[in-house]
Amino acid sequence: MGLRLLIFACCYLKLMTFSFYIPANALKSKGPIGAGLVQASHSLHTSSKSLAPVPALPEKGGQVRHGIIPEELFQLLYPKTGVTGPYMLGTGLLCYLLSKEIYIINHETLSAASIGAVVIYAIKKFGPSVAAFADKLNEEKVLNAQAVKDVALVGLSQAIEEEKKEQWRAEGRSMLFDAKRNNVAMLLETNFRERIHMVTNEVKKRLDYQIAVQNLNRQMEQEHMVNWVEKSVVGSITPLQEKESIAKCISDLKALARAKASLAV
């Protein structure tokens, strides 16, 4: 209650000379009204420090001696009474309580002894395994998170590798374009040559036709002329000429025969 009033008073009076940093965890454990104290500390932001990140948990829990007595008592009494101080205090206290009959030994003491024996036995026997189990629970949480992180790391490094490969591939694209350009040029050239060829053939056909027509014309003229000449010659041969020619031929043949016979001899 006093702590709560103090916080309210300081916040209200706006003591800006020093900053008030009270961790929420410390407040939450302050007795039954700890939760209310946390709300009180949330109300006015008197310092610029935030409540996160939470401070780390201590490595070990509070040290105890004989399972129940905090080590701090021994440290407190050591300067004045040495090592045996707290034990003397305990023994003396017990003797005082018993002798003044402030604490009376009755059946409850025996039942306390029996439940104490059961509890101590259970702690000694199952304590380490329960602690290991609790540690394993936390360990598994960390391992799960770590596994997620590792999978993400592997995935990302693979992505980096693939990106590098893509970059290497992209460097070769100029060669690709050259090849494509060559292809296109070849296609165009081929197409052009085909068309030239076609044109040549067509022109040649036309010219051949003209030549054939001319040849035909000449041939027909020649034939016609020859026929006409023949006809006129044959027509001009009179029968007298025919007899004369035949007699001539016979006399020639006789002469030839006489010449051949003389040669043969």
């Binding site: 039954p32 948990l57 025996l110 306390a112 439940i115 609790a134 949480k141």
Partner: protein
């Protein structure tokens, strides 16, 4: 002597202030509050694991409508467990030995399950009065018996918890008194009785945990029938 045996069960009051309120409220301090950390200390981790596992296993047979009761039953379990276990210490008053408290927990919760059943699915809830496959001649008697059994449930719940814990505490009281009285006279017999006391204490630890669990389990069963 005969009076002092039951004095341990009288509701404590100090200067006219009923201390049972403190006895009911203070065990809450022993249960650590989970912090906003991801990894906490061993106690908080174990507590979280235990409550999660217990609630999961308890609500497995219930349909989704019954899951609204999870915070109530889980916190009631922790409450009864701490009350019972703390009561085994010497000079500690166990509030669950009071019939008023146990009936005060049992009757409203049982009545809530019955009313939920009657309101949401009255035919199905009334159908529980006649189990399937009963011979026709037995029907009238069976309905009467089932009605009686329904109305005796809250009484049974409360009285079961009260009787178990009261009997346990009484036995511990008696046997430890016997050991205490026998020790100067017959130490050997006293030692045997002390061994008996040790075994009884172990039994009482088990009974404390089991009775709390049975209370919650039966409530969840009644809920399962009706929700």
């Amino acid at each position: 002597m005969t009076l002092s045996l039951f004095d341990q069960f009288s509701s404590p009051s100090f200067l006219g202030i009923p201390m049972i309120l403190m006895a009911l409220a203070l065990p809450w301090l022993l249960i650590p509050t989970p912090t906003s950390r991801w990894l906490s200390n061993r106690v908080v981790s174990l507590q979280g694991w235990f409550i999660a596992r217990f609630t999961n296993q308890l609500f497995l047979p219930l349909n989704v409508g019954g899951h609204k009761w999870a915070p109530l039953l889980a916190s009631l379990m922790m409450f009864l467990l701490t009350l019972n276990m703390l009561g085994l210490m010497p000079y500690i008053f166990t509030p669950t030995t009071q019939l008023s408290l146990n009936l005060g927990l049992a009757v409203p919760l049982w009545l809530a399950t019955v009313l939920i059943g009657m309101r949401n699915q009255p035919t199905h809830a009334l159908g529980h009065f006649l189990p399937e496959g009963t011979p026709t001649a037995l029907i009238p008697i069976l309905i009467i018996i089932e009605t009686i059994s329904l109305f005796i449930r809250p009484l049974a719940l409360g009285v079961r918890l009260t009787a178990n814990l009261t009997a346990g505490h009484l036995l511990i009281h008696l046997i430890s008194s016997a050991v205490f009285v026998l020790m100067p006279m017959m130490p050997a017999v006293a030692i045997l009785t002390a061994v008996l006391l040790l075994l009884l204490t172990m039994l009482e630890v088990a009974v404390a945990m089991i009775q709390a669990y049975v209370f919650i389990l039966l409530l969840s069963l009644y809920l399962q029938e009706n929700v």
